[in-house]
Subunit: 89 residues, 2 copies
């Protein structure tokens, strides 16, 4: 299994009201010193194929077509070989 | 500047209708072989502090309190020292 991870963030020049709302809420919760917050999306796609340059190209094309809006968003695509099963902290 | 990156994904046992909608749309766009898609959130917080273990603890606590719902979501927290300015592909 190959996992494709696509991170999509609004371009820096695009206003991010969700991020601003979080940045404004943090001090009230006792967290100071955060200058800016940006909120974006993360997609994890699992494929049966092996991780190859051709797969990376297809993944980029999926991201451009369906996952991100390239006019207002930047995205990064990473391939992860046989990911552990969603373990996190 | 230290950047804190928080990735939040629904726990594997929680239904992800957005991810399913994407998985179902991909074949119609000519992208086959994708087994599952999960959609989550990515937060990028910029702080003036240096990256220290204490900052990582505070970032975990922010994520638990405000950015993720630990009942249904898993999250990971990473610190990135002086990130390049949002460059991506």
């Amino acid at each position: 299994v190959t996992r494709v991870v696509v991170d999509v963030m609004l371009k820096p020049e695009i206003l991010d009201p969700q991020g601003q709302a979080i940045a404004r809420a943090l001090p009230d919760l006792g967290f100071t010193g955060v200058r800016t917050v940006r909120q974006g999306k993360r997609f994890e796609l699992d494929l049966d194929e092996a991780a190859t340059p051709a797969l990376l190209d297809r993944a980029r094309s999926m991201a451009e077509t369906l996952l991100a809006n390239p006019v207002i968003e930047d995205f990064t695509v990473q391939l992860v070989d046989s990911p552990e099963s969603g373990l996190s902290t």
